[in-house]
């Protein structure tokens, strides 16, 4: 269940309280997020929409521990991440966050399986265990037969599938997707979104996604708009209505 008017007693997986983020540009402070609150439960699929510069990516970066807020807090599974040191935050990201970006960001000199294996290199898994995990992740995204292909030998949709496999291979607590279909044609975008939906419905993954595309956003349980630095609920999508919807 997603809430943007959360109180202090929530037991949600992700809890955001009074989140502020201010940038300085040319000496002028620019407040991107203002006192933002958010609760996201395990298995929720949330889409963030809003005009360019509204702070969608900034919010995603703060939720993923890639950036630190000016004020406020972000807790995930009881871990308050806003006060973690850089080193601890890096370890936390490795365990809890799967990232999917608009332009895939695969390492071009590594094969699909080597790209997917990257997060597992940070674990204590043996080589054969890592291989098993990689094969499973590639099977989930339907790319078993492309394991030894390099990114340049794959289509855009396939590259994004590899990026999703890389994001889920270490079984993170939640996935952050920044415009995951922004670089794809409609057909490929539909396939990617079907895959993301499957991750939520079949594998109970929690997904937070930024998108400009209303059709893509409509696939989420909840669509939230960022306006003037605060989140506004856009209404229940058909999926979220079926699943119980936002509070």
């Amino acid at each position: 269940m997603v809430s943007v008017n959360a109180d202090g007693n929530s037991k949600a997986l992700i809890q955001v309280r009074g989140l502020n983020k201010t940038y300085r540009r040319g000496g002028e402070p620019i407040q991107v997020l203002q006192g933002l609150n958010l609760d996201v439960d395990q298995g929720d699929f949330v889409a963030f929409m809003g005009p360019s510069g509204s702070g969608k990516t900034t919010l995603l970066n703060l939720l993923g521990g890639l950036d630190v807020p000016t004020a406020g807090s972000v807790s995930v599974g009881g871990d308050e991440i806003t006060h973690m040191s850089s080193g601890r935050l890096t370890e936390w990201r490795a365990r809890h966050v799967g990232f999917v970006f608009q332009i895939y960001n695969l390492v071009p000199v590594l094969t699909a399986s080597q790209n997917v294996e990257l997060p597992l290199l940070l674990t204590r898994l043996s080589r054969s265990e890592r291989k098993q995990h990689v094969e499973s992740a590639l099977a989930i995204v339907g790319l078993q037969g492309r394991a030894e292909h390099f990114p340049r030998q794959l289509s855009g949709g396939q590259e994004q599938r590899v990026a999703i496999a890389r994001a889920i291979v270490s079984d993170p607590t939640f996935l952050l997707c920044d415009e995951p279909t922004g670089d794809l044609d409609r057909k490929s975008a539909d396939e990617i979104m079907a895959l993301v939906e499957e991750l939520v419905s079949k594998h109970n993954k929690t997904v937070l996604m930024v998108t400009h595309d209303p059709l893509v956003a409509a696939r989420a349980h909840t669509v939230l708009h960022l306006e003037k630095g605060a989140l506004v609920e856009a209404g229940k999508s058909p999926h979220s209505a079926a699943a119980g919807g936002a509070a």
Binding site: L66, G87, N105, P108, V109, L110, L118
Partner: protein, 382 residues
């Protein structure tokens, strides 16, 4: 190592650039090895000089002679175990290009004073019985394809001119790495018999073997004091100081070689540093992704340093293998002009140490830059 595939893949992503960088290291290490070999060759005299030997020359210069009569006086100085004497012969074998040193020796004391240069007893005994006999170093024998029993004609330009013929009675070998095996020795009696009168009874220098190296200073002073104010005053030094004096005649070889070596490595550092900086800048986005998915700052620094060190290691090894193959060939071509050219294990280790140091330094700045990279800023730039 589980990160190796990532390091190797990044290393080989631009193959031409990799080959050129490896080539830079290989050429630099090849040159470094050669410079080290030449420096060692010039310093070899000092290196193989015995601590318990003194060399006595004419105080005016090495080309001025001293009387044979000094031998017994020197021998009687307390602390002296033995004395031998030599003359520089400086003759030509067939062609001036075939240079090798020839010495007139005292057979009675040669083997006692230069015990590290070994001649088999049977060959030495034949030499003693043969007035026109000669002993040659293994390197010179190999160079000219001589064999025992060969007749060796030498044409002297110093001692009245004319051809001198010798029978090769034996071959000597050095027992230590770097011992000079290029000399040819023949007997004092034969020399004394054939040289013009003005050279008779005159030796080039004495080599004095001491009972103990601790006596070196005292005995050297005693020898020079004995012949002070005579027509042939002497200058006595330890063998290593004497060898160093020879090297100084060529100029400051050490400084020259160190200067060239420093320039080579500094240039290499600039070239590889620039290459690594470009390589890291090209994949800012990838490094940001690695950091986003949980690779720590130290890991990113490690990857960049590992790439730089791998280039240094492979390039360095290629250069040193080429040097190992080339040094003996050049040494052969330079035979007689320089002491034996040896590329020793310490030199190889020193060269590889320098290569790895340059590799580490060239990777350090780009690596630190990658380490400090803010993921959010880097992702915004993609």
């Amino acid at each position: 190592m589980k990160f190796w595939s990532l390091i190797w893949a990044n290393l080989t992503r631009k193959k031409v650039r990799l080959l050129l960088t490896l080539g830079s290291f290989a050429v630099a290490l090849f040159l470094f090895a050669f410079l080290a070999v030449v420096r060692d060759a010039f310093n070899r005299g000092g290196g193989v000089a015995a601590a318990n030997r003194l060399v006595v020359i004419n105080r005016v210069s090495i080309i001025q002679t001293i009387p044979l009569s000094y031998r017994d006086k020197i021998r009687n100085i307390p602390g002296v175990e033995n004395v031998t004497h030599d003359n520089w012969f400086g003759a030509i074998y067939q062609d001036e290009k075939n240079f090798f040193p020839q010495f007139v020796i005292d057979p009675d004391s040669q083997r006692q004073v230069y015990s590290e240069l070994v001649v088999p007893d049977d060959q030495w005994n034949n030499f003693l019985k043969d007035r026109t006999g000669a002993i040659a170093g293994a390197s010179t024998v190999k160079r000219f394809g001589w064999k025992i029993g060969d007749r060796i004609p030498l044409k002297t330009t110093i001692y009245g001119g004319g051809a001198w013929e010798f029978n090769l009675d034996g071959v000597y070998h050095g027992t230590r790495p770097g011992d000079d095996e290029t000399q040819l020795w023949f007997q004092w009696d034969y020399f004394e018999e054939r040289v013009p009168d003005r050279f008779k009874g005159q030796v080039g220098w004495y080599t004095v073997k001491l009972n103990t190296p601790d006596d070196a200073v005292r005995v050297a002073k005693a020898i020079d004091a004995d012949f002070a104010n005579s027509p042939y005053e002497t200058k006595t030094d330890t063998e290593s100081a004497w060898a160093a004096g020879w090297v100084k005649q060529f100029g400051n070889i050490e400084f020259l070689i160190l200067s060239i070596g420093s320039v080579v490595f500094f240039t290499l550092l600039l070239v590889t540093g620039n290459t690594m900086a470009i390589s890291v800048r090209e994949r800012t986005g990838e490094l940001a992704i690695l950091k986003a998915i949980g690779f720590k700052n130290g890991s990113v620094l490690f990857f960049v340093l590992a790439e730089a060190l791998t280039i240094a290691l492979i390039g360095g090894l290629v250069g040193l293998v080429l040097a190992l193959l080339a040094v003996p060939l050049v040494g052969q071509a330079m035979s007689g002009m320089l002491p034996p050219m040896v590329l020793s294990k310490p030199m190889l280790a020193e060269a590889m140490g320098f290569a790895l140091l340059v590799g580490a330094c060239s990777g350090l700045l780009p690596g630190l830059g990658a380490m400090r990279l803010r993921v959010v800023d880097a992702l915004r730039r993609i």
